[in-house]
């Protein structure tokens, strides 16, 4: 609070110096009260200037002190804002400033001196943000969950091994006891023979037990076979731990901004690093963890954050592909997103809540999302595709808006062509993707 007060004093003192006389100074701050320096800063200056960071323009915090210490004339800075060229011509310090940055400053001839004072006062009253420590907590929680699951099966194995050891030990003790009591013939029998004798004695139970074990093994075997090629939950490591929730969620960036070929191409596309730099040129991160991640983008783009310029030395990022389909399937994003009007959420889940990098969302998670077609088969399997094709009504999407006779043709075929399709249509009153050939093998396999 006191520190802030000091800054205000400094600001007022600088204003005093520049305005020249005390009498004017006594009135000016009163008049300034009606001018909102913050709003003016945001509308006029913030495009290039930041209070504490050098951007396109230099940082503005305490800039008046810097100018007066540098030996600039009292009026020079106001002249500079109105027209930097006249200021540079008349003031040697301003001429030096003109050499500092490559980009020339926009001229603001309409800003009055009290307005400039209000802007600079507002800038000086700002306090540098302390690094926020939030974020990444849920990402960590996911990892913990995975570990617990792994530990769980390990516990069962250890328990099983212990159980076997205990049984063997107990039976060993029993045999010792039998041998000690001198029962005839018992010492000549091995474990196997003893078990055999016991099994023949309890044949009915042994048979029932065997059948149960056999069926269990068959079930386990088939479950194992069914899990081959199922990639639910696949989340490979990535060079940068990219938090989707911060970008798509908090910052409200459309999926299509970064994955911009999704409407035009088979592949949704990964953003090139220049797309990252559109925001990250300014957003450098609030804490060490974020800064470390963003530094990787800078290295990839060849951006020198200290000098605020591109060096031209780039080191590209290699992302690991998450949603991989085998080569014998053809999938096209634009057909689904642009033509079919399918929301990204249907297959990729709610990325605005995904705290980390992309992951093949399990179908149970996808089903929780409002508006999604409810499916049962695992994500990215053929059954999953077919289920959706059978359920999903065709969208008139963009093709309908763009005109053309695509749907007229479909309607014509519906009426006069395929009688079965027509009767299906009459039954439920909706046309699904399947009814238009969405289950034809050659739609996806060719």
């Amino acid at each position: 609070m006191f520190k802030n007060f000091n800054k205000w004093c400094l600001g007022a003192f600088a204003a005093m110096l520049t305005l020249g006389t005390f009498s004017v100074n006594a009135q000016e701050p009163e008049a300034e009260a009606s001018i909102n320096g913050g709003d003016l800063f945001k509308s006029k200056c913030a495009t290039c200037h930041h209070p504490f960071k050098d951007g396109t323009g230099p940082k503005l915090y305490d800039v008046r002190t810097a100018w007066s210490e540098g030996g600039a004339g009292a009026e020079a800075i106001y002249q500079w804002v109105n027209n930097w060229q006249t200021a540079a011509a008349s003031d040697p310090y301003a001429a030096g400033v003109a050499q500092k940055k490559a980009t020339a400053m926009t001229k603001f001839p309409d800003l009055t001196k009290p307005q400039i004072v209000a802007i600079l006062d507002w800038v000086d009253s700002q306090e540098e943000k302390v690094a926020g420590a939030a974020g990444g907590a849920a990402g960590g929680a996911e990892g913990v969950e995975g570990e617990e699951e792994g530990g769980f099966s390990w516990i069962w194995i250890i328990l099983g091994v212990l159980f076997v050891i205990v049984i063997l030990a107990v039976s060993g003790v029993r045999r010792q006891l039998k041998a000690a009591s001198g029962e005839a013939g018992s010492d000549t029998l091995s474990y196997g023979e003893e078990f055999k004798a016991w099994a023949w004695g309890n044949l009915r139970y042994v048979l029932i037990g065997s059948v149960v074990i056999f069926i269990t093994l068959i079930v386990v075997l088939f479950q194992g076979l069914y899990s081959i090629g199922v990639v639910e939950g696949y989340q490979p490591s990535q060079p940068i731990d990219f938090p989707h929730s911060k970008h798509a969620g908090m910052s409200g960036i459309d999926c299509k901004y970064c994955h911009n070929s999704v409407t035009e191409s088979r592949s949704a596309g990964l953003p090139t690093v220049n797309v990252c730099m559109n925001c990250h040129k300014q957003v450098a991160g609030n804490d060490d963890e974020q800064m470390e991640k963003i530094a990787k983008i800078y290295a990839a783009a060849g951006w020198d954050a200290d000098a605020q310029q591109y060096t031209g030395k780039t080191t590209p990022i290699v992302w690991n592909k998450v949603h991989v389909l085998p080569d014998h399937v053809y999938f096209n994003h634009s057909q689904h997103v642009e033509v079919g009007g399918v929301d990204c959420k249907q297959c990729h889940g709610d990325m605005t809540k995904q705290q980390s990098t992309a992951m093949v969302q399990p179908v149970v998670e996808l089903n929780k999302i409002e508006g999604n077609v409810q499916l049962t088969r695992p994500t990215l399997t053929m059954g999953w595709c077919l289920e959706c094709h059978a359920e999903k009504e065709i969208s008139t999407g963009s093709i309908d808006n763009a005109g053309g006779d695509y749907y007229q043709e479909i309607h014509r075929r519906l009426l006069y062509g395929d009688k079965k399709l027509y009767s299906d249509y009459l039954e439920d009153g909706k046309v699904t993707v399947m009814e238009l050939g969405g289950w034809e093998c050659a739609k996806c396999h060719y």
Binding site: T272, V275, V283, Y310, V318, W319, P326
Partner: protein
């Protein structure tokens, strides 16, 4: 016989335990067992797949070194044979300012020594995408789509510079379009195509036709009647544009000084 049973039993126990243990070891970077592994990493080229390992054979030369690449400057997307569309897609006649190499990381352009943002040619450039009473509705609907996907998170759905990124305070310094009426069509295009200030070049994500559509769309933030159609006649098409040009011409000598 006794030995054999022991051997078989031991083998079974070993197999079962190996299978059980094997299922517990999870490699984060492995997507699990596949029926046809060579179909996932086949010799056919698929986007973003690392071909360093195909059919269990390592090939250092094929190893992926870069995921996404910016389209080279001058490439033209195929848009059929409509001459007007093709003309829109051709290389732009105004080159970026030399300093954009270091300030905006532009690579591969012909650079101009003078600040092309303030040249007469740019100030006089008008939108080649002609607005007519017929295409107005479609053009603005299209513009809205492009704007929502690519601009709204910073510039705001209303173009006031208050997108979600401003509201959360992540980003600062996005101007209100309504304050920027003095900009020529060419300057708006230049800013989107090559970048301006903190904003980078968007040439790699929106094509030239889309940018010119955006220029029309942005004009509507400045004048809500811009491009609207009443009784089949386009509003303010003849009145607004020359006025803007005059204004630009008025500003021009000052800027050149």
């Amino acid at each position: 016989m006794k030995m054999r049973i022991k051997l078989v039993g031991g083998l079974m126990l070993a197999t079962v335990s190996v299978m059980l243990l094997g299922s517990c070891v999870s490699d984060k970077d492995s997507s699990g067992l596949e029926y046809m592994p060579d179909m996932y990493r086949s010799p056919a080229i698929e986007p973003y797949v690392d071909y360093g390992e195909v059919r269990n054979q390592q090939n250092e030369d094929m190893k992926m070194t870069q995921s996404a690449m910016t389209p080279p400057h001058g490439t033209i997307p195929y848009f059929g044979t409509d001459a007007e569309e093709v003309a829109l897609m051709l290389s732009w006649n105004i080159d970026p300012f030399d300093q954009f190499k270091t300030t905006h990381g532009l690579v591969g352009y012909n650079f101009s020594k003078e600040n092309t943002y303030e040249t007469e040619a740019l100030l006089m450039t008008v939108n080649p995408l002609k607005l007519t009473a017929e295409n107005s509705e479609e053009l603005f609907a299209n513009g809205k789509k492009i704007y929502t996907a690519n601009c709204a998170h910073c510039h705001g759905a209303k173009g006031d510079g208050n997108g979600p990124m401003m509201e959360t305070g992540v980003y600062v310094g996005v101007p209100n379009y309504a304050d920027k009426t003095q900009l020529s069509d060419g300057q708006i295009f230049y800013s989107i195509y090559y970048g301006k200030g903190s904003m980078g070049s968007h040439a790699s994500i929106v094509n030239k036709k889309e940018i010119w559509t955006l220029v029309h769309y942005i004009r509507r933030f400045q004048d809500s009647a811009y491009g609207s159609v009443t009784d089949g006649v386009l509003n303010s098409d003849d009145t607004a544009e020359p006025a803007e040009e005059e204004e630009v011409a008025g500003v021009d000598p000052e800027e050149v000084n």
